[in-house]
């Protein structure tokens, strides 16, 4: 089995070679009287279709079409190559006209969402193992509710057992919002533990107003705050891992449709330009 690092170097080498070939061909053909835009355009369109086919391949899991991992490698380096082809196709200029600009914008959304997705896919998984238990994304709401029920039972228990309202009041003012659903998305995404520390700081500063039984209850609430915060951490990161595809895939379809129009228009008006 080839190591992942070796595979990366091999793929980068192939990518660099193909990019050099494209740029060399462009340099050679630009001296001839034939326009290069049709050749680069058709190649780019074919490549975009091939890249978009990956999503179809992912659905045909039972056909012998090669492993998804190999397709992804081709998708990644093919995507990078499409950028080289794209700048060759637009001849290193910003396109003019509303349609061409829209097409360019679509291409950049797809390209950069793909790059972003790749970065997310490589950076986030390792962070998921550092905090809290491994939990399936679909089960997070269920666990959140369970934690909220547990903390509310503790709070209600304080009323009946200690006949005081210190903890219930604190819960309503400072904790209810936190336990009601996923919180501190951005802080978790950027690895900030400040919201957790703030909450724990607040509850600890409140401890001096509590009796012995209430302090025991607070300790259990602190454990649940940590558990809920870990769950929020899982939610924020797993949500991010899933959501970028909702930008990448629909815009890919839009790009394919726009590019078909672009092809038709380019050929329709090709005679005029000559």
């Amino acid at each position: 089995m080839r190591s992942l690092a070796a595979r990366r170097w091999y793929s980068l080498g192939v990518f660099a070679l193909l990019a050099a070939v494209i740029l060399a061909l462009y340099a050679i053909l630009s001296f001839s009287i034939h326009p290069t835009s049709f050749a680069s355009g058709w190649t780019l369109w074919g490549l975009i279709l091939a890249l978009a086919a990956y999503n179809v391949r992912k659905r045909l899991t039972f056909l012998p079409l090669g492993s998804s991992s190999k397709w992804l490698q081709v998708h990644i380096y093919g995507g990078l190559l499409s950028f080289v082809l794209f700048i060759v196709h637009v001849e290193f200029r910003v396109p003019s006209g509303a349609f061409e600009l829209s097409l360019t914008l679509l291409y950049f959304i797809v390209f950069f969402s793909g790059l972003g997705g790749l970065a997310i896919s490589r950076a986030i998984p390792a962070r998921l193992t550092t905090r809290g238990e491994e939990v399936l994304f679909e089960r997070i709401p269920k666990f959140t509710k369970r934690i909220r029920d547990d903390v509310e039972n503790i709070v209600l228990g304080c009323i009946s057992e200690t006949q005081t309202t210190a903890i219930p009041e604190f819960y309503v003012e400072h904790l209810k919002h936190f336990f009601d659903g996923p919180r501190h998305f951005w802080q978790h995404l950027f690895q900030s533990s400040r919201p957790r520390n703030d909450l724990l700081g607040e509850i600890r500063s409140h401890e001096r107003f509590l009796n012995k039984d209430e302090r025991a209850a607070v300790q259990r609430i602190i454990d649940l705050i940590c558990a809920k915060d870990d769950l929020d951490h899982q939610y924020a990161l797993q949500w991010t891992l899933k959501v970028w595809l909702f930008a990448h895939i629909p815009f890919t379809y839009a790009l394919v449709i726009f590019s078909v129009f672009h092809l038709v228009l380019a050929h329709a008006f090709a005679g005029g330009s000559e």
């Binding site: 089995m1 998804s68 998984p125």
Partner: protein
Amino acid sequence: MSQGRSIIPRPKRWDVPFSDEMTDDVVERILSVAPFNKIDRKKFRAPITLEGIIQNDARLVSCQEGDIIIREGDWGNSAFFILSGTVRVELMASGKFLPPEKLGRPVTKRKSLFRAIAQMWSNSKEPEFRDLSQPALSSEVGSRGSGDRTRIYLQDIPRLLDKYKTVALEAGELFGEIAALGRMPRTATVFAEGEATLVEFRWQGLREIFRKDASMRTHIETKFRNNALEGILRNEPSFANTAEEDMQQLLDQAEFNTFATYDLSKQYRDMARGGTEGQLTEEPLVAKEGDYPNGVTLICSGLARLSQRYHNGHRTLGYLLPGQMYGFPEIEEGWKTQKQLPLSMSLRAIGYLTTVTVPTQLVERLVLEKGGAGKSHQSPALDVAAAAQTVTNIGSDIIEFAVDNSLVQGTATMIIDLDRCTRCDDCVRACSNAHDNNPRFLRHGPIHGQYMIANACMHCADPVCMIECPTGAISRDLAGGQVVISDQTCVGCTRCADNCSYDAIRMVEVRDGVGNLIRDENGRLPIQQATKCDLCVEQRIGPACQNACPHDALYRVNMTDLNSLGSVFNR
């Protein structure tokens, strides 16, 4: 809860007997026939008396004509004594075997390209759909009884006896004991010729008799030497080319041993919770580091741990599985240098282990002097330096995690690298697509560092799930060796799911094409069947989960091979 309610009698052996039907009369009847009437009962001291063994570790099995008692290739942990009637053993050596369909065994067919494509629209929308229009078994085989008393039977016995070579076993004979004691697959198919009454012994009882009674021990050892040992030795490259007369010496002097601390791997997992060091000291010591080797030990069945003293504890350096050897390098090196070299690692039995030991002087005379050396280094773990290097490369903590949790049994263990897994669930979807929209594993399981061992069938080298299946519905695929369950013959007895310690087998309620639960005609209770990962044996692509993982995070790993393990962990 009151304190009184927490007090229970200490659990003892035989709290749950093998059968409730073993009355004193039945026990006396069995003890009155040979070879049991020749056993000296005084050798069995209370509380493990001979009567107790027969009462609690045996049961009566009534067979009708054609009933299949054991099948070649199945796993078993019991042996049979013929009380009355005749049974027939199929002679594999005849070269003409009973076909799998005749034995009620599923024959897996790989999907054609068209059928693979057709899954896009033909997969059922209902969960756990089963097609009831398919006949449960081929017309040549029948089924009677229900639940765990179901029996598959052969039809038209006279014609089968004409066509296939068999040998008759009469009342007073014992069969199946080698597979039961050695935890090896059955080597032949046995069926009832007419009505027969058998006594089925579970291995625990058989082992007690084997230990205490010299005549039984001799009987079993002789059978083992005659029937199984030569095959085991010939499979080992060092002994493969031994001349016939030398082989006879090996067969005569080789020693057969069994080491066991528990029965099924469920109990093993409970023990594993004690941690590596605690667990290690509980494991029976087969050979001790520092001692001089008294022979080459060949693993016949089960799993053994190789460990070495490390500061104040022991470090696991590897493990040995059936077919692998221990002690050969020391004997070989000692023979070359004419010095006695001590064993460099200890060998301990994990759970149930059977070994064959060939004495040192025979190895030197028949193997080393005749140039058979240098062929036996099958396992890198046998060489201390290589083992230590492998452990360093992979990480001793991972090896100990795998050994302590008995994960090394897996020939296709699903390992997920959580540092690469984006939790996209493409693996689960692919699995679901390949199994009529029913995923056959959970992306969940024990985690060690960045690696998760998912709850998917590992296709164990020693598949305890196959023990006790009353219909043989769970079996190894004849072509690829994957452990598969036949929907057509599974009776939902839950034995396989109970025996699997990895929670890889689930019982599901099956449905018809419109989503209604299928119920049995008498009790109207939903029909359950066992389901698990079959490594996509019917698909054209191999395991769909691995094939669908875009990020190289999911691997099906043969844990029995340290190199294969290293190639995944050292990517």
